[in-house]
């Protein structure tokens, strides 16, 4: 699918790999992207290719610096494609946002204390959802908003996505 391709191209730029790879056309019936590597068979799947690109760019720290962190990164990459990308209704997105909001209450990044691939991929996946929220809703999911605002300002992450505006002051005191 075009969207996955755009996202991977954006990730390449974030990682400093300017157009070195050729992304093959996706398989006819699904949205799964394919990457033809120089040695061996093609790589299939968004997070698989993303992890591969991180290693090519020699930025392995983005996959987690300890065993625990790597595990958490893997978990969120999976969450991205199984939960966030499968939100079909208002209710689904509410559930995801609520879950994330609880999880992020005491965290700056999704895994550990620095930016990982999980942050980048979840940010990309959530972008259209968060951009569509009203200020009242952004305030309701305050931890998601704080994290999202932080990630979109991390150098190189946002690329061509529109910047989402967050109010720094509380507008809706009655919501809480």
């Amino acid at each position: 699918m075009a969207a996955a391709r755009v996202e991977l191209e954006s990730l390449e730029k974030t990682l400093g790999l300017r157009g070195r790879n050729k992304l093959g056309p996706s398989r006819s019936d699904s949205a799964v992207p394919v990457l033809q590597t120089n040695n061996g068979p093609g790589l299939v799947g968004l997070t698989t290719i993303a992890s591969h690109l991180v290693k090519v760019a020699k930025k392995e720290a983005l996959l987690g610096s300890t065993a625990e962190e790597s595990a958490i990164v893997q978990q969120w990459l999976e969450y991205r494609i199984t939960q966030i990308d499968r939100c079909n209704s208002q209710e689904d997105t509410r559930v995801v946002l609520k879950e994330l909001n609880c999880y992020l209450e005491d965290k700056v990044y999704l895994a550990g204390n620095s930016l990982t691939l999980a942050d980048i991929m979840v940010y990309n996946g959530l972008h259209h959802i968060v951009a569509g929220l009203t200020h009242e809703e952004r305030e309701k999911f305050m931890n998601v908003s704080r994290w999202f605002n932080h990630i979109q300002h991390c150098p190189g992450v946002r690329q061509h996505s529109a910047s989402v505006i967050f109010m720094k002051n509380r507008l809706y005191p009655s919501v809480h």
Partner: protein, 528 residues
């Protein structure tokens, strides 16, 4: 004898076991019934004999003004500690009743006040009387005589917390049907109470049974406060030497655009219901009344089913001649509204508190002098918050609300004026801004982020008025009489119209305008 005979005949005939059983059963049943009746009769008799208090309760014959009774009825709200140990008469509704052995607790309600009453077996009260009191249906109207007694423990569920009434006589004046279309308790429950799984009453059921819904303490308070708005509006303007006028509601031509008017048949031709007293209040200015106001019904035939639109509502309209700048008028109107807010705060605190119990909201905040923003400033604030809109675009409802929150956050006020609207979004009679023809000398006022007043300097020059109408493609013939009224010398003037229901709704922070209209009219409701 006949019975015996018939029995004999039946015995002679061969009969099935089944039929015999049936007969036997029937006989048993009859016997039981007779026994029961006898018992009941004897009980009743016994009751009648024993009941020493039979004159102290009962159902009174219909009051048809047969006699002038010299009896003082005390209002429930006046039942306080000062009245302790006095014998009083009062007329009230039975809000709830709960019998418990030899006692019956009644909550007696009069408007938004209630008090606990107690009927307990004693020297003056018999068992039968307690039973009678317990059986009075909810919402019946009763006359009660009793002694006011102080209580040790405050009664939290009643408005009169310090006293209760020991009832000695109770008569039903008007009995209510035992089945009510809705329970007052349910209608008064805060919406947050959902968590308890208790019932609440939805808007339509309330409106279908409006007279019962209006009895709730919340509704009683809302409409008392609304009356207060009208009174304060009059008071303030009369002090400022405004003249109250009455204008016709049946008019020959639509005043602002023909789309949203109701047409009525008028003998051999048709007429319209006035969308606002616009034309007439301007004509009064041309007739040298200088400052006028008008309170009356206003009709809008817009098919919009929202939380804040009605097809008939009460308009509070102001029009005033000014000397050099329309801000003279704007300040006068904003000042009037501030006086209303202050008056409500000072005079109607009980009502505000009562409504707050069911519909919690933050107290209404305002500044003195009133905050005035210009339209471009507002657009800039919205753009800063990520809203995409054009400079000459009208505010959408969500943007209006967001702007309200932004203003509240920045200036801490729920009331502000938005001045200098783009000319393109205002009616043809609005005076263009002298410095920038894109804008106009018009303003809206907002409460809690929702528009309550729309106003402007009007064009008082017939030539300019004609030009503007032509520019907007309005048929000059249709508004000829309107334009003509400015031909014989017209002072510069400005004004505005406020919706009474909206002011009440937004002051109290309610979420539906139907709550502040006694018998609301909308595209889907014509009754009750």
């Amino acid at each position: 004898m006949t019975k015996g005979e018939s029995g004999g005949v039946q015995e002679d005939q061969p009969q099935s076991k089944k039929a015999a059983k049936k007969l036997q059963k029937e006989a048993e049943k009859a016997a039981k019934k007779a026994e029961k009746q006898a018992k009941l009769a004897s009980e009743n008799q016994a009751g009648d004999e024993e009941d020493f208090a039979k004159d102290r309760y009962g159902i009174l014959p219909m009051i048809q003004s047969q006699e002038k009774l010299d009896r003082v009825l005390v209002h429930v709200k006046n039942l306080t500690e000062e009245k302790a140990d006095q014998v009083v008469w009062l007329r009230s509704r039975v809000h709830t009743s709960r019998a418990k052995g030899k006692q019956c607790f009644l909550v007696l309600r009069q408007q938004q006040f209630n008090v606990q009453g107690l009927v307990a077996v004693g020297d003056h009260v018999s068992k039968q009387m307690v039973k009678f009191a317990a059986n009075i249906s909810k919402e019946s109207i009763v006359d009660v005589e009793g002694i006011v007694r102080k209580v040790d423990q405050k009664i939290e569920s009643c408005s009169q917390r310090d006293v209760e009434l020991h009832i000695e006589k109770i008569y039903v004046i008007s009995a209510a049907e035992p089945r009510l279309p809705l329970q007052l308790e349910d209608a008064m429950r805060p919406e947050a109470g959902d968590e308890e799984g208790r019932a609440t009453v939805n808007q339509d059921t309330r409106l279908d049974n409006r007279i019962i819904d209006l009895r709730t303490m919340t509704s009683q308070s809302i409409f008392r406060l609304q009356a207060g708005v009208c009174q304060l509006f009059r008071e303030t303007l009369i002090k400022k030497e405004f003249v109250e006028i009455q204008t016709p509601k049946i008019i020959s031509a639509a005043s602002e655009g023909g789309a949203n008017v109701f047409t009525v048949s008028y003998f051999k031709t048709s007429a319209y219901l006035a969308q606002s007293p616009q034309l007439y209040k301007q004509m009064c200015i041309c007739a040298d009344f200088d400052k006028v106001f008008c309170i009356g019904p206003v009709f809008r035939a817009e098919d919009s089913n929202t939380h804040r639109h009605l097809t008939e509502f009460v308009g509070l309209d102001i029009e005033m001649a000014f000397n050099y700048h329309y801000h003279e008028v704007m300040t006068e109107i904003a000042g009037t509204l501030v006086q209303i807010f202050k008056g409500l705060r000072d005079r109607h605190q009980t009502e505000i508190q009562t409504v707050c119990k069911q519909y919690p909201c933050e107290p209404f905040k305002f500044l003195e002098p009133t905050l005035r923003l210009e339209f471009p400033e507002a657009v800039a604030m919205l753009k800063e918050a990520g809203v995409e809109m054009g400079d000459e675009e009208d505010l959408s409802t969500p943007n209006e609300k967001l702007l309200g929150r932004l203003v509240k956050e920045k200036y801490d006020t729920d009331f502000y004026i938005l001045d200098k609207y783009p000319l393109a979004v205002r009616p043809f009679y609005t005076m263009p801004d002298p410095h920038d023809p894109k804008y106009s000398n018009s303003y809206d006022m907002f409460m809690r982020g929702e528009e309550i007043l729309s106003g402007a300097q009007r064009i008082h020059d017939p030539q300019l008025l004609t030009d503007r109408a032509l520019q907007l493609g309005i048929d000059i013939e249709k508004i000829k009489s309107y334009i003509d009224s400015f031909r014989f010398g017209a002072p510069p003037h400005a004004g505005g119209g406020i919706g009474l229901e909206r002011v009440t709704m937004l002051y109290l922070g309610l979420h539906n305008i139907r709550q502040t209209s006694m018998f609301p009219r909308d595209p889907k409701r014509l009754t009750p």
